[in-house]
Protein backbone atom coordinates (compact mmCIF):
# COMPACT_ATOMS: atom_id res chain seq x y z
CA UNK A 1 0.00 0.00 0.00
CA UNK A 2 2.77 2.34 0.98
CA UNK A 3 4.49 1.59 -2.28
CA UNK A 4 1.35 2.31 -4.28
CA UNK A 5 1.06 5.75 -2.70
CA UNK A 6 4.76 6.47 -3.12
CA UNK A 7 4.97 5.48 -6.79
CA UNK A 8 1.67 7.14 -7.66
CA UNK A 9 2.93 10.32 -6.04
CA UNK A 10 6.21 10.27 -8.01
CA UNK A 11 4.37 9.74 -11.30
CA UNK A 12 1.79 12.41 -10.45
CA UNK A 13 4.49 14.91 -9.54
CA UNK A 14 6.27 14.38 -12.85
CA UNK A 15 3.08 14.70 -14.85
CA UNK A 16 1.96 17.79 -12.99
CA UNK A 17 5.27 19.54 -13.63
CA UNK A 18 5.05 18.44 -17.27
CA UNK A 19 1.90 20.57 -17.70
CA UNK A 20 3.82 23.63 -16.62
CA UNK A 21 6.89 22.92 -18.73
CA UNK A 22 4.98 23.85 -21.89
CA UNK A 23 2.82 26.89 -22.65
CA UNK A 24 -0.20 24.60 -22.30
CA UNK A 25 -0.63 25.38 -18.62
CA UNK A 26 -0.58 29.15 -19.04
CA UNK A 27 -2.84 29.12 -22.09
CA UNK A 28 -5.28 26.78 -20.39
CA UNK A 29 -5.44 28.66 -17.13
CA UNK A 30 -5.94 32.04 -18.81
CA UNK A 31 -8.66 30.75 -21.11
CA UNK A 32 -10.37 28.88 -18.30
CA UNK A 33 -10.52 31.92 -16.05
CA UNK A 34 -11.51 34.24 -18.90
CA UNK A 35 -14.30 31.96 -20.09
CA UNK A 36 -15.74 31.10 -16.68
CA UNK A 37 -15.80 34.83 -15.94
CA UNK A 38 -17.23 35.82 -19.30
CA UNK A 39 -20.01 33.27 -19.09
CA UNK A 40 -20.91 34.26 -15.56
CA UNK A 41 -20.98 38.01 -16.24
CA UNK A 42 -22.29 38.29 -19.78
CA UNK A 43 -24.34 35.16 -20.41
CA UNK A 44 -25.36 34.30 -16.87
CA UNK A 45 -26.17 37.87 -15.90
CA UNK A 46 -24.17 37.77 -12.66
CA UNK A 47 -24.93 41.44 -11.79
CA UNK A 48 -28.35 41.77 -13.38
CA UNK A 49 -29.79 38.93 -11.33
CA UNK A 50 -29.14 40.88 -8.17
CA UNK A 51 -28.56 37.70 -6.19
CA UNK A 52 -25.53 36.95 -4.07
CA UNK A 53 -24.71 33.48 -5.36
CA UNK A 54 -22.47 31.82 -7.94
CA UNK A 55 -25.19 29.95 -9.84
CA UNK A 56 -24.49 31.82 -13.12
CA UNK A 57 -20.83 30.92 -12.69
CA UNK A 58 -21.29 27.18 -12.12
CA UNK A 59 -24.11 26.84 -14.64
CA UNK A 60 -21.72 26.92 -17.60
CA UNK A 61 -19.05 24.65 -16.21
CA UNK A 62 -20.33 21.49 -17.91
CA UNK A 63 -20.18 23.21 -21.28
CA UNK A 64 -16.75 24.66 -20.70
CA UNK A 65 -15.44 21.33 -19.53
CA UNK A 66 -16.60 19.76 -22.78
CA UNK A 67 -13.85 21.63 -24.55
CA UNK A 68 -11.28 22.28 -21.91
CA UNK A 69 -10.99 19.02 -19.97
CA UNK A 70 -10.37 16.77 -22.99
CA UNK A 71 -7.61 19.23 -23.90
CA UNK A 72 -5.93 18.46 -20.58
CA UNK A 73 -6.54 14.72 -20.84
CA UNK A 74 -5.60 14.14 -24.48
CA UNK A 75 -1.86 14.03 -23.94
CA UNK A 76 -1.89 11.65 -20.97
CA UNK A 77 -1.41 8.42 -22.90
CA UNK A 78 -1.44 9.39 -26.56
CA UNK A 79 1.80 11.29 -26.12
CA UNK A 80 3.46 8.43 -24.27
CA UNK A 81 2.56 6.09 -27.08
CA UNK A 82 3.62 8.46 -29.82
CA UNK A 83 7.02 9.23 -28.32
CA UNK A 84 7.62 5.65 -27.20
CA UNK A 85 8.13 6.66 -23.58
CA UNK A 86 5.31 4.27 -22.66
CA UNK A 87 7.86 1.49 -23.11
CA UNK A 88 10.16 3.22 -20.67
CA UNK A 89 7.36 3.93 -18.19
CA UNK A 90 5.91 0.44 -18.26
CA UNK A 91 9.27 -1.26 -17.76
CA UNK A 92 10.05 0.74 -14.64
CA UNK A 93 9.36 -1.12 -11.40
CA UNK A 94 5.85 0.24 -11.05
CA UNK A 95 2.44 -1.28 -11.62
CA UNK A 96 0.14 -0.06 -14.39
CA UNK A 97 -2.29 1.17 -11.74
CA UNK A 98 0.31 3.44 -10.25
CA UNK A 99 0.95 4.97 -13.65
CA UNK A 100 -2.74 5.39 -14.44
CA UNK A 101 -3.64 6.86 -11.06
CA UNK A 102 -0.59 9.10 -11.02
CA UNK A 103 -1.37 10.56 -14.41
CA UNK A 104 -5.04 10.99 -13.64
CA UNK A 105 -4.41 12.65 -10.30
CA UNK A 106 -1.87 15.04 -11.84
CA UNK A 107 -4.39 16.15 -14.46
CA UNK A 108 -7.10 16.44 -11.83
CA UNK A 109 -4.87 18.53 -9.62
CA UNK A 110 -4.17 20.76 -12.59
CA UNK A 111 -7.91 21.37 -13.07
CA UNK A 112 -8.03 21.94 -9.33
CA UNK A 113 -5.48 24.75 -9.73
CA UNK A 114 -7.67 26.28 -12.43
CA UNK A 115 -10.69 26.17 -10.12
CA UNK A 116 -8.77 27.67 -7.23
CA UNK A 117 -7.76 30.54 -9.49
CA UNK A 118 -11.46 31.40 -10.01
CA UNK A 119 -11.89 31.99 -6.29
CA UNK A 120 -11.81 35.79 -6.66
CA UNK A 121 -15.39 35.28 -7.88
CA UNK A 122 -16.23 33.81 -4.52
CA UNK A 123 -14.55 36.66 -2.70
CA UNK A 124 -16.34 39.21 -4.89
CA UNK A 125 -19.74 37.78 -4.20
CA UNK A 126 -18.99 37.86 -0.48
CA UNK A 127 -18.06 41.56 -0.70
CA UNK A 128 -21.20 42.40 -2.65
CA UNK A 129 -23.68 40.47 -0.55
CA UNK A 130 -24.28 37.65 1.83
CA UNK A 131 -24.17 34.46 -0.19
CA UNK A 132 -24.73 30.97 1.19
CA UNK A 133 -21.10 29.89 1.25
CA UNK A 134 -22.08 26.29 1.86
CA UNK A 135 -23.87 26.18 -1.49
CA UNK A 136 -20.87 27.74 -3.21
CA UNK A 137 -18.50 25.22 -1.62
CA UNK A 138 -20.81 22.42 -2.76
CA UNK A 139 -20.69 23.96 -6.23
CA UNK A 140 -16.91 23.89 -6.25
CA UNK A 141 -16.84 20.31 -5.04
CA UNK A 142 -19.42 19.29 -7.63
CA UNK A 143 -17.55 21.07 -10.39
CA UNK A 144 -14.28 19.41 -9.36
CA UNK A 145 -15.91 15.97 -9.28
CA UNK A 146 -17.48 16.51 -12.66
CA UNK A 147 -14.14 17.61 -14.09
CA UNK A 148 -12.67 14.39 -12.66
CA UNK A 149 -15.24 12.30 -14.49
CA UNK A 150 -14.58 14.14 -17.77
CA UNK A 151 -10.86 13.66 -17.21
CA UNK A 152 -11.08 9.94 -16.49
CA UNK A 153 -13.03 9.47 -19.71
CA UNK A 154 -10.50 11.62 -21.55
CA UNK A 155 -7.60 9.63 -20.13
CA UNK A 156 -9.27 6.39 -21.16
CA UNK A 157 -9.79 7.62 -24.73
CA UNK A 158 -6.23 8.92 -24.84
CA UNK A 159 -4.99 5.36 -24.31
CA UNK A 160 -6.76 4.30 -27.49
CA UNK A 161 -4.74 6.36 -29.91
CA UNK A 162 -1.34 7.90 -30.45
CA UNK A 163 -2.98 10.93 -32.03
CA UNK A 164 -3.83 13.65 -29.54
CA UNK A 165 -6.29 15.38 -31.86
CA UNK A 166 -8.32 12.20 -32.23
CA UNK A 167 -8.20 11.69 -28.47
CA UNK A 168 -9.52 15.22 -27.99
CA UNK A 169 -12.39 14.95 -30.46
CA UNK A 170 -13.58 11.53 -29.34
CA UNK A 171 -13.41 12.45 -25.66
CA UNK A 172 -15.28 15.69 -26.28
CA UNK A 173 -18.00 13.85 -28.15
CA UNK A 174 -18.48 11.26 -25.43
CA UNK A 175 -18.60 13.93 -22.76
CA UNK A 176 -21.07 15.90 -24.89
CA UNK A 177 -23.39 12.89 -25.04
CA UNK A 178 -23.12 12.42 -21.29
CA UNK A 179 -24.02 16.05 -20.68
CA UNK A 180 -26.82 16.07 -23.22
CA UNK A 181 -28.43 12.95 -21.86
CA UNK A 182 -30.03 15.03 -19.11
CA UNK A 183 -31.70 17.59 -21.35
CA UNK A 184 -35.45 17.40 -21.87
CA UNK A 185 -34.76 17.78 -25.56
CA UNK A 186 -33.00 14.43 -25.63
CA UNK A 187 -35.22 12.72 -23.10
CA UNK A 188 -38.40 13.67 -24.98
CA UNK A 189 -37.08 12.08 -28.12
CA UNK A 190 -36.34 8.91 -26.15
CA UNK A 191 -39.71 8.92 -24.37
CA UNK A 192 -41.49 8.65 -27.69
CA UNK A 193 -40.16 5.22 -28.50
CA UNK A 194 -38.41 3.58 -25.56
CA UNK A 195 -39.75 2.14 -22.32
CA UNK A 196 -39.58 4.29 -19.20
CA UNK A 197 -36.62 2.55 -17.60
CA UNK A 198 -34.40 3.42 -20.55
CA UNK A 199 -35.33 7.07 -20.21
CA UNK A 200 -34.58 7.10 -16.51
CA UNK A 201 -31.37 5.16 -17.06
CA UNK A 202 -30.20 7.68 -19.64
CA UNK A 203 -31.18 10.67 -17.56
CA UNK A 204 -29.53 9.20 -14.48
CA UNK A 205 -26.27 9.04 -16.44
CA UNK A 206 -26.47 12.72 -17.10
CA UNK A 207 -23.71 14.96 -15.88
CA UNK A 208 -26.06 17.88 -16.02
CA UNK A 209 -28.79 16.68 -13.68
CA UNK A 210 -26.29 15.51 -11.06
CA UNK A 211 -24.34 18.71 -11.32
CA UNK A 212 -27.48 20.87 -11.16
CA UNK A 213 -28.54 19.27 -7.94
CA UNK A 214 -25.10 19.72 -6.39
CA UNK A 215 -24.83 23.39 -7.38
CA UNK A 216 -28.22 24.04 -5.84
CA UNK A 217 -26.72 22.88 -2.57
CA UNK A 218 -27.75 19.23 -2.54
CA UNK A 219 -24.33 17.65 -2.23
CA UNK A 220 -25.94 14.27 -1.93
CA UNK A 221 -24.10 11.02 -1.45
CA UNK A 222 -25.64 9.65 -4.62
CA UNK A 223 -24.25 12.53 -6.66
CA UNK A 224 -20.78 12.06 -5.26
CA UNK A 225 -21.01 8.31 -5.79
CA UNK A 226 -22.17 8.87 -9.36
CA UNK A 227 -19.08 10.85 -10.28
CA UNK A 228 -16.66 8.70 -8.28
CA UNK A 229 -17.97 5.46 -9.74
CA UNK A 230 -17.81 6.93 -13.22
CA UNK A 231 -14.17 7.87 -12.56
CA UNK A 232 -13.43 4.37 -11.23
CA UNK A 233 -15.09 2.73 -14.21
CA UNK A 234 -13.27 4.92 -16.73
CA UNK A 235 -9.90 4.36 -15.07
CA UNK A 236 -10.49 0.62 -14.95
CA UNK A 237 -11.22 0.67 -18.68
CA UNK A 238 -8.17 2.85 -19.07
CA UNK A 239 -6.01 0.13 -17.48
CA UNK A 240 -7.38 -2.50 -19.85
CA UNK A 241 -6.79 -0.26 -22.85
CA UNK A 242 -3.24 0.56 -21.81
CA UNK A 243 -2.46 -3.14 -21.47
CA UNK A 244 -4.02 -3.88 -24.83
CA UNK A 245 -2.63 -1.02 -26.84
CA UNK A 246 0.71 -0.20 -25.24
CA UNK A 247 2.77 -2.15 -27.74
CA UNK A 248 0.93 -1.14 -30.91
Amino acid sequence: MHELVRNTWIIAKREFIAYFSTPLATVFLIIFIALTGAFAFYVGGFFERGQADLAPFFQYHPWLYLLLVPAVAMRLWAEERKSGTIELLMTLPISPWEAILGKFLAAWAFIGVALVLTMPMWITVNILGNPDNGVILAGYIGSFLMAGAFLAIGSCISALTRNQVIAFIVASTICFLLVMSGLELVLNVLRAWTPGFVVSAVSSMSFLSHFDRITKGFLSLSGVIFYLSLIAFALFTNKILVDLKKAD
Partner: protein, 320 residues
Protein backbone atom coordinates in the same frame (compact mmCIF):
# COMPACT_ATOMS: atom_id res chain seq x y z
CA UNK B 1 23.80 -20.32 -10.19
CA UNK B 2 21.37 -20.16 -13.04
CA UNK B 3 21.69 -17.69 -15.86
CA UNK B 4 20.69 -14.07 -15.23
CA UNK B 5 18.57 -13.91 -18.35
CA UNK B 6 16.55 -16.95 -19.30
CA UNK B 7 14.02 -17.25 -22.05
CA UNK B 8 12.29 -20.42 -22.99
CA UNK B 9 10.37 -20.91 -26.17
CA UNK B 10 9.08 -17.33 -26.48
CA UNK B 11 6.42 -16.87 -29.12
CA UNK B 12 4.53 -13.84 -30.31
CA UNK B 13 2.16 -13.30 -33.16
CA UNK B 14 0.69 -10.03 -34.40
CA UNK B 15 -2.36 -10.86 -36.43
CA UNK B 16 -1.16 -13.21 -39.15
CA UNK B 17 2.46 -12.28 -38.74
CA UNK B 18 4.56 -14.52 -36.55
CA UNK B 19 7.06 -12.11 -35.06
CA UNK B 20 8.84 -14.48 -32.69
CA UNK B 21 8.63 -18.18 -33.26
CA UNK B 22 10.15 -20.09 -30.38
CA UNK B 23 13.20 -18.29 -29.06
CA UNK B 24 15.09 -19.76 -26.11
CA UNK B 25 18.29 -18.35 -24.70
CA UNK B 26 20.38 -18.00 -21.58
CA UNK B 27 22.78 -15.25 -20.72
CA UNK B 28 25.16 -15.70 -17.81
CA UNK B 29 26.83 -13.10 -15.66
CA UNK B 30 29.81 -11.64 -17.50
CA UNK B 31 28.37 -12.33 -20.91
CA UNK B 32 27.52 -9.72 -23.52
CA UNK B 33 25.14 -11.25 -26.00
CA UNK B 34 24.76 -9.63 -29.40
CA UNK B 35 21.35 -9.82 -31.01
CA UNK B 36 21.71 -9.68 -34.75
CA UNK B 37 19.17 -9.84 -37.48
CA UNK B 38 17.66 -7.93 -40.36
CA UNK B 39 14.98 -5.37 -39.64
CA UNK B 40 11.73 -7.04 -38.69
CA UNK B 41 13.44 -10.27 -37.67
CA UNK B 42 11.96 -10.18 -34.18
CA UNK B 43 14.84 -8.71 -32.20
CA UNK B 44 12.87 -5.89 -30.60
CA UNK B 45 9.83 -8.07 -30.00
CA UNK B 46 12.02 -10.60 -28.22
CA UNK B 47 13.54 -7.88 -26.08
CA UNK B 48 10.13 -6.48 -25.24
CA UNK B 49 9.08 -9.91 -24.02
CA UNK B 50 12.26 -10.32 -21.99
CA UNK B 51 11.51 -7.06 -20.19
CA UNK B 52 7.88 -8.01 -19.61
CA UNK B 53 6.62 -5.04 -21.63
CA UNK B 54 4.98 -7.39 -24.08
CA UNK B 55 3.22 -10.53 -22.97
CA UNK B 56 4.31 -13.55 -25.00
CA UNK B 57 1.67 -15.82 -26.54
CA UNK B 58 3.64 -18.74 -25.16
CA UNK B 59 6.88 -19.33 -23.31
CA UNK B 60 8.41 -17.52 -20.39
CA UNK B 61 11.20 -15.14 -19.55
CA UNK B 62 13.15 -14.73 -16.34
CA UNK B 63 15.39 -11.96 -15.11
CA UNK B 64 17.76 -13.01 -12.31
CA UNK B 65 15.56 -16.04 -11.73
CA UNK B 66 12.34 -13.99 -11.43
CA UNK B 67 9.54 -14.57 -13.91
CA UNK B 68 8.80 -11.26 -15.64
CA UNK B 69 5.06 -11.91 -15.85
CA UNK B 70 4.48 -13.43 -12.43
CA UNK B 71 6.48 -10.87 -10.57
CA UNK B 72 6.98 -7.94 -12.91
CA UNK B 73 7.97 -5.32 -10.33
CA UNK B 74 10.71 -7.41 -8.79
CA UNK B 75 12.03 -8.50 -12.16
CA UNK B 76 12.10 -4.92 -13.43
CA UNK B 77 13.94 -3.75 -10.36
CA UNK B 78 16.86 -5.95 -11.47
CA UNK B 79 16.68 -4.80 -15.05
CA UNK B 80 17.96 -1.81 -16.96
CA UNK B 81 16.32 -1.35 -20.31
CA UNK B 82 17.07 0.92 -23.23
CA UNK B 83 14.03 0.74 -25.51
CA UNK B 84 14.33 1.10 -29.27
CA UNK B 85 14.81 4.72 -30.29
CA UNK B 86 15.87 5.64 -26.75
CA UNK B 87 12.67 7.42 -25.70
CA UNK B 88 12.89 9.99 -22.89
CA UNK B 89 10.52 12.62 -21.58
CA UNK B 90 11.52 15.48 -23.86
CA UNK B 91 9.92 18.19 -21.76
CA UNK B 92 12.25 17.50 -18.85
CA UNK B 93 15.85 18.52 -18.37
CA UNK B 94 18.34 15.68 -18.35
CA UNK B 95 18.84 16.18 -14.62
CA UNK B 96 15.11 16.24 -13.81
CA UNK B 97 14.57 13.13 -15.90
CA UNK B 98 17.35 11.14 -14.25
CA UNK B 99 16.23 12.32 -10.82
CA UNK B 100 12.73 11.09 -11.62
CA UNK B 101 14.13 7.70 -12.62
CA UNK B 102 16.19 7.53 -9.42
CA UNK B 103 13.11 8.32 -7.36
CA UNK B 104 10.93 5.73 -9.05
CA UNK B 105 13.74 3.20 -8.63
CA UNK B 106 13.30 3.72 -4.90
CA UNK B 107 16.42 5.69 -3.98
CA UNK B 108 16.13 8.38 -1.36
CA UNK B 109 17.29 11.89 -2.14
CA UNK B 110 20.92 11.49 -1.07
CA UNK B 111 21.45 8.07 -2.64
CA UNK B 112 19.51 9.15 -5.75
CA UNK B 113 21.76 12.16 -6.15
CA UNK B 114 24.83 9.93 -6.00
CA UNK B 115 23.36 7.50 -8.53
CA UNK B 116 22.51 10.29 -10.93
CA UNK B 117 26.01 11.74 -10.59
CA UNK B 118 27.58 8.33 -11.24
CA UNK B 119 25.44 7.68 -14.30
CA UNK B 120 26.18 11.17 -15.61
CA UNK B 121 29.89 10.52 -15.13
CA UNK B 122 29.77 7.28 -17.06
CA UNK B 123 27.82 8.74 -19.96
CA UNK B 124 29.58 12.15 -19.86
CA UNK B 125 26.44 14.21 -19.75
CA UNK B 126 27.73 17.04 -17.54
CA UNK B 127 27.54 19.72 -20.19
CA UNK B 128 23.85 19.20 -20.97
CA UNK B 129 22.40 18.38 -17.56
CA UNK B 130 20.28 21.50 -17.33
CA UNK B 131 19.01 21.39 -20.90
CA UNK B 132 15.64 20.10 -21.97
CA UNK B 133 16.04 16.66 -23.53
CA UNK B 134 14.04 17.84 -26.57
CA UNK B 135 16.77 20.29 -27.44
CA UNK B 136 19.65 17.80 -27.25
CA UNK B 137 21.46 16.25 -30.20
CA UNK B 138 20.75 12.66 -31.05
CA UNK B 139 23.96 11.46 -29.43
CA UNK B 140 23.23 13.19 -26.15
CA UNK B 141 19.63 12.01 -26.15
CA UNK B 142 20.80 8.45 -26.52
CA UNK B 143 23.28 8.89 -23.73
CA UNK B 144 20.55 10.23 -21.45
CA UNK B 145 18.54 7.11 -22.19
CA UNK B 146 21.57 4.93 -21.49
CA UNK B 147 22.20 6.78 -18.23
CA UNK B 148 18.60 6.02 -17.29
CA UNK B 149 19.14 2.32 -17.94
CA UNK B 150 22.34 1.98 -15.89
CA UNK B 151 21.38 4.34 -13.07
CA UNK B 152 20.50 1.60 -10.58
CA UNK B 153 23.49 -0.54 -11.55
CA UNK B 154 21.24 -3.43 -12.62
CA UNK B 155 22.39 -7.02 -12.84
CA UNK B 156 20.75 -7.32 -16.21
CA UNK B 157 20.99 -4.80 -19.00
CA UNK B 158 18.97 -5.01 -22.20
CA UNK B 159 19.75 -2.44 -24.86
CA UNK B 160 17.95 -2.14 -28.16
CA UNK B 161 20.37 -0.63 -30.66
CA UNK B 162 22.39 1.44 -28.20
CA UNK B 163 24.66 2.98 -30.83
CA UNK B 164 22.10 3.60 -33.56
CA UNK B 165 22.55 7.07 -35.01
CA UNK B 166 25.69 7.93 -33.10
CA UNK B 167 28.84 9.23 -34.72
CA UNK B 168 31.97 7.05 -34.66
CA UNK B 169 33.36 8.67 -31.51
CA UNK B 170 30.13 8.29 -29.64
CA UNK B 171 29.81 4.69 -30.81
CA UNK B 172 33.26 3.96 -29.53
CA UNK B 173 32.42 5.56 -26.21
CA UNK B 174 29.20 3.58 -25.78
CA UNK B 175 30.98 0.36 -26.63
CA UNK B 176 33.66 1.15 -24.12
CA UNK B 177 30.97 1.77 -21.55
CA UNK B 178 29.28 -1.55 -22.28
CA UNK B 179 32.56 -3.44 -22.22
CA UNK B 180 33.42 -1.80 -18.90
CA UNK B 181 30.19 -2.97 -17.31
CA UNK B 182 30.27 -6.46 -18.74
CA UNK B 183 32.18 -8.12 -15.93
CA UNK B 184 29.43 -8.35 -13.34
CA UNK B 185 26.30 -8.12 -15.48
CA UNK B 186 24.43 -10.07 -18.09
CA UNK B 187 23.96 -7.81 -21.08
CA UNK B 188 22.00 -8.12 -24.30
CA UNK B 189 22.72 -5.66 -27.08
CA UNK B 190 20.80 -5.65 -30.32
CA UNK B 191 22.41 -4.18 -33.36
CA UNK B 192 22.76 -4.58 -37.03
CA UNK B 193 26.24 -3.19 -37.03
CA UNK B 194 28.41 -6.26 -37.12
CA UNK B 195 31.63 -4.63 -36.07
CA UNK B 196 29.86 -3.94 -32.83
CA UNK B 197 29.48 -7.63 -32.17
CA UNK B 198 33.19 -8.13 -32.74
CA UNK B 199 33.96 -5.15 -30.53
CA UNK B 200 31.85 -5.87 -27.45
CA UNK B 201 29.99 -9.16 -27.60
CA UNK B 202 31.27 -12.36 -26.10
CA UNK B 203 28.57 -14.22 -27.97
CA UNK B 204 26.16 -13.50 -30.78
CA UNK B 205 22.81 -14.79 -31.85
CA UNK B 206 21.44 -14.22 -35.30
CA UNK B 207 17.69 -14.00 -35.48
CA UNK B 208 15.79 -14.28 -38.69
CA UNK B 209 12.07 -14.50 -39.16
CA UNK B 210 11.45 -15.03 -35.48
CA UNK B 211 13.94 -17.85 -34.96
CA UNK B 212 17.52 -18.18 -33.82
CA UNK B 213 19.47 -19.22 -36.89
CA UNK B 214 22.98 -19.02 -35.46
CA UNK B 215 24.46 -18.91 -31.99
CA UNK B 216 28.12 -18.64 -31.13
CA UNK B 217 31.07 -16.32 -30.61
CA UNK B 218 31.88 -13.89 -33.38
CA UNK B 219 34.78 -16.21 -34.17
CA UNK B 220 32.44 -19.23 -34.36
CA UNK B 221 30.12 -17.45 -36.70
CA UNK B 222 32.94 -16.42 -38.98
CA UNK B 223 34.27 -19.94 -39.14
CA UNK B 224 31.07 -20.83 -40.94
CA UNK B 225 32.16 -18.70 -43.86
CA UNK B 226 33.30 -20.42 -47.04
CA UNK B 227 36.21 -18.01 -47.46
CA UNK B 228 37.27 -17.80 -43.84
CA UNK B 229 41.08 -17.85 -43.53
CA UNK B 230 41.48 -17.81 -47.27
CA UNK B 231 44.88 -16.61 -48.47
CA UNK B 232 44.76 -14.17 -51.33
CA UNK B 233 47.95 -13.65 -53.29
CA UNK B 234 48.90 -11.42 -56.15
CA UNK B 235 51.64 -13.00 -58.21
CA UNK B 236 53.39 -12.33 -61.54
CA UNK B 237 51.59 -13.98 -64.46
CA UNK B 238 54.63 -16.01 -65.45
CA UNK B 239 54.91 -17.60 -62.01
CA UNK B 240 51.22 -18.16 -61.44
CA UNK B 241 51.05 -21.77 -62.53
CA UNK B 242 54.00 -22.89 -60.43
CA UNK B 243 52.81 -21.06 -57.34
CA UNK B 244 49.31 -22.43 -57.68
CA UNK B 245 50.77 -25.90 -57.83
CA UNK B 246 53.03 -25.30 -54.82
CA UNK B 247 50.06 -24.08 -52.80
CA UNK B 248 47.93 -27.02 -53.84
CA UNK B 249 50.54 -29.40 -52.45
CA UNK B 250 49.71 -28.45 -48.87
CA UNK B 251 47.24 -30.84 -47.36
CA UNK B 252 45.62 -28.02 -45.41
CA UNK B 253 44.72 -26.22 -48.64
CA UNK B 254 41.64 -27.74 -50.17
CA UNK B 255 41.76 -25.87 -53.45
CA UNK B 256 43.42 -23.02 -55.26
CA UNK B 257 41.32 -20.67 -57.32
CA UNK B 258 42.38 -18.24 -59.98
CA UNK B 259 40.29 -15.20 -59.31
CA UNK B 260 41.35 -12.98 -62.16
CA UNK B 261 44.07 -11.07 -63.90
CA UNK B 262 44.69 -7.39 -63.32
CA UNK B 263 47.60 -5.18 -64.35
CA UNK B 264 49.66 -8.12 -65.43
CA UNK B 265 49.33 -9.92 -62.14
CA UNK B 266 47.25 -12.92 -61.29
CA UNK B 267 45.11 -13.03 -58.23
CA UNK B 268 45.10 -16.46 -56.60
CA UNK B 269 43.01 -17.65 -53.74
CA UNK B 270 44.05 -20.59 -51.60
CA UNK B 271 41.10 -21.96 -49.70
CA UNK B 272 42.01 -23.94 -46.59
CA UNK B 273 40.17 -27.04 -45.44
CA UNK B 274 37.37 -26.10 -43.10
CA UNK B 275 38.63 -24.80 -39.78
CA UNK B 276 42.26 -25.51 -40.53
CA UNK B 277 44.79 -22.84 -39.57
CA UNK B 278 47.23 -21.54 -42.13
CA UNK B 279 50.17 -23.97 -42.18
CA UNK B 280 53.26 -22.45 -40.62
CA UNK B 281 55.38 -23.82 -43.42
CA UNK B 282 53.33 -22.00 -46.02
CA UNK B 283 53.66 -18.80 -44.08
CA UNK B 284 57.40 -19.12 -43.89
CA UNK B 285 57.64 -19.95 -47.61
CA UNK B 286 55.83 -16.75 -48.39
CA UNK B 287 57.95 -14.81 -46.00
CA UNK B 288 61.20 -16.16 -47.43
CA UNK B 289 59.86 -15.51 -50.92
CA UNK B 290 60.00 -19.13 -52.01
CA UNK B 291 56.55 -18.28 -53.10
CA UNK B 292 56.97 -14.95 -54.81
CA UNK B 293 53.86 -13.02 -54.03
CA UNK B 294 53.65 -9.27 -54.49
CA UNK B 295 50.82 -9.00 -52.11
CA UNK B 296 49.48 -11.45 -49.53
CA UNK B 297 46.32 -11.12 -47.53
CA UNK B 298 44.52 -13.46 -45.20
CA UNK B 299 40.81 -13.00 -45.58
CA UNK B 300 39.02 -13.45 -42.32
CA UNK B 301 35.71 -13.05 -43.98
CA UNK B 302 33.50 -10.79 -41.96
CA UNK B 303 30.29 -11.01 -40.07
CA UNK B 304 28.46 -9.13 -42.79
CA UNK B 305 28.98 -12.13 -45.02
CA UNK B 306 27.80 -14.59 -42.40
CA UNK B 307 24.84 -12.40 -41.80
CA UNK B 308 23.89 -12.18 -45.45
CA UNK B 309 24.48 -15.83 -46.00
CA UNK B 310 22.41 -17.00 -43.06
CA UNK B 311 19.57 -14.57 -43.36
CA UNK B 312 19.09 -14.92 -47.09
CA UNK B 313 19.48 -18.68 -47.36
CA UNK B 314 16.97 -19.15 -44.58
CA UNK B 315 14.37 -16.99 -46.24
CA UNK B 316 11.59 -19.23 -47.33
CA UNK B 317 8.73 -18.68 -49.74
CA UNK B 318 6.18 -16.07 -48.91
CA UNK B 319 8.66 -13.67 -47.38
CA UNK B 320 7.95 -10.20 -48.65
Amino acid sequence: MSALIEASDLRKQFGDIVAVNGISLNVERGEVLGFLGPNGAGKSTTMKMLTGFLEPDAGSARIAGIDVLENPKMARAKLGYLPEGAPCYGDMTARAFLTFIAEIRGFDRAEGGKRVAAAVDKTELHSVLEQRIDTLSKGFKRRVAIAQAILHDPQVLIMDEPTDGLDPNQKHQVRKLIAGMAKDKAIIVSTHILEEVEAVCSRAIIINRGRIVADGTAEDLMRRLPYHNTIALKVATARAEAIAKALGDFSAISKVERVGVANGRVQLRAVPSVGAPIPAELASMIRTRLIEAEEVQVERGNLDDVFRQITTSDTGAGHA
